[in-house]
Symmetry: C2
Subunit: 300 residues, 2 copies
């Protein structure tokens, strides 16, 4: 069975795994990514990690998931807030020369979605929309087992999607952008505003309070679940995917809020879209597995 190297290069850590074509992780190594030390240090560290894998040369290709939008055609990041210096840097060209193997990159949400669409919750489905909900809200679109990256690497990057134009301005994102209304950060912001006497460490506490019947938490819950429902209805109206796959930290509370989201979603779509399945991401290592699936999806 063919093997691939899957690399999850983040702003904090980097992980390199050897993955079979059916998505089994045979071995993996992890290191800090040295993001603040610049491009050369980050790539030197990455190369040493790869060289340290005994038979990496027997792999059929290398895929790398990155924390930002990518120009997958030219093999460069478009924006790299968490990996300073990488925007525009020809990393694919350099790494292909070094490793002597085909190298592909894509952003981490697309890569996680690719893993779920190929060997995870949406295995084999033609159109999978992957949504990650944690401090922010992002996503990725997988069509026929391939990531769709977009003109500027922003396909699936729904943070700025407007769900209600009658909200207040929060930051550089649009008024009513979903990330400012229903992300973990947004829910905690609203909870602090409504309940200044309480402290909230994480989103789950707000959701738990709502479930227990606290009226202020309930109002926040009602609003963000409707906002998420509208987000899904907008994605549905544009794409009609075969499945929504949901990942990210907020999924820890998914059983408490997703049934409400789905119920409201069904009131906002055509009859034929009401039964589109919602599934939780199910892979333990979507970052490494999805990265390894990049070269497979390109025919390597």
């Amino acid at each position: 069975m063919k093997k691939y190297l899957g690399i999850d290069l983040g702003g904090t850590n980097v992980r390199v795994g050897v993955v079979t074509e059916d998505g089994t992780v045979l071995q993996q190594v992890k290191s800090v990514s040295y993001a603040q030390d610049g491009v050369t240090k980050v790539l030197d560290n990455l190369k040493q990690m790869v060289y340290g894998i005994e038979d990496y040369k027997s792999c059929s290709g290398i895929g790398i998931g990155l924390p930002g939008p990518c120009d997958t055609v030219h093999g460069k990041m478009v924006l790299s807030t968490n990996l300073p210096g990488f925007a525009g840097y020809p990393m694919v060209e350099e790494l292909q020369k070094d490793f002597g193997l085909p190298v592909f990159i894509d952003n981490d949400a697309n890569v996680a979605g690719l893993a779920e669409a190929r060997v995870g919750a949406g295995k084999g489905l033609p159109i999978v929309f992957y949504i990650t909900m944690s401090t922010g809200i992002g996503g990725g679109l997988i069509v026929n087992g391939q990531t769709v990256s977009g003109r500027s690497g922003f396909t699936g990057e729904i943070a700025n999607l407007i769900i209600d134009r009658n909200r207040k301005k929060v930051n550089y994102l649009n008024i009513g952008a979903i990330e400012n209304e229903a992300s973990g950060t947004a829910i905690k912001r609203k909870a602090k505003e409504a309940m200044p006497d309480r402290t909230f460490e994480h989103t789950g506490q707000v959701i738990d309070l709502a479930v227990e019947g606290n009226m202020q938490a309930k109002m926040i819950f009602d609003q963000f679940t409707y906002d998420l429902a509208q987000m899904f209805s907008e994605i549905g109206a544009v794409l009609d995917p075969d499945m929504y796959v949901i990942g990210g930290g907020m999924t820890k509370s998914a059983d408490k809020f997703m049934p409400t989201v789905i119920e409201k979603y069904r009131t906002l779509v055509h009859e034929q879209l009401r039964d589109t399945p919602f599934a939780l991401a199910k892979l333990e290592e979507p970052g490494i597995i999805g990265a390894a699936m990049l070269p497979i999806s390109k025919g390597c």
Copy 2:
């Protein structure tokens, strides 16, 4: 050069063309479609038209554009308001048997988008989103030269996309659905409400009035151009396409309203999406050409 049959089967007329792989229409015939006489009559008429084309058997495949969402996998329409009886009818199976050629179907907006993405305004671009604006608003998504149809045939069918949840209920569509706020029908409805003494035959008259400085028409113009801008921003946030291609009757006035739409759109998207090109559909026969491109896109 290979040739294909492209069929544009609508609720009123049916047109059959012989098209080369580069999109040249070599010959075409047209007939009423007999939609109200039922499936058998419609298909018998269609078959006679095809048999009448001397060397149709030398074509490499047949594509058919249809007026409603299609299950392209099983070769059936999902909804067929304008072709009674076709929903669920195994038309591809029957026609393949009769013609002895591979047959593919898809809805007319997807087919027109396919033509524009392969040989029209968006020739060769990876992601083309085609929007048709006339009495209604619909669309189609083309990725890497193939139509994306969706779980229920609704990919690109953006009529129900919410652009403002604080509007009035108009019909079965969502409150604030784009088709009820910015289609030709919607613009005429708003004009009649605001100016009951005037009569409007078509949308262009309302737009002309606004351009001339009529205040009531200007308010309608300001609203629907913002609504369209938000629609494009929502599609952009989900898809980041390489180009928006715009077709349909409203494009006759495109020079009067699209610059305003694009200007507003740019205030509602990430910096990287501001320069996404908008182009008018440029093919004279997108229905026939796009239908003929269906078998090409499937490798025939």
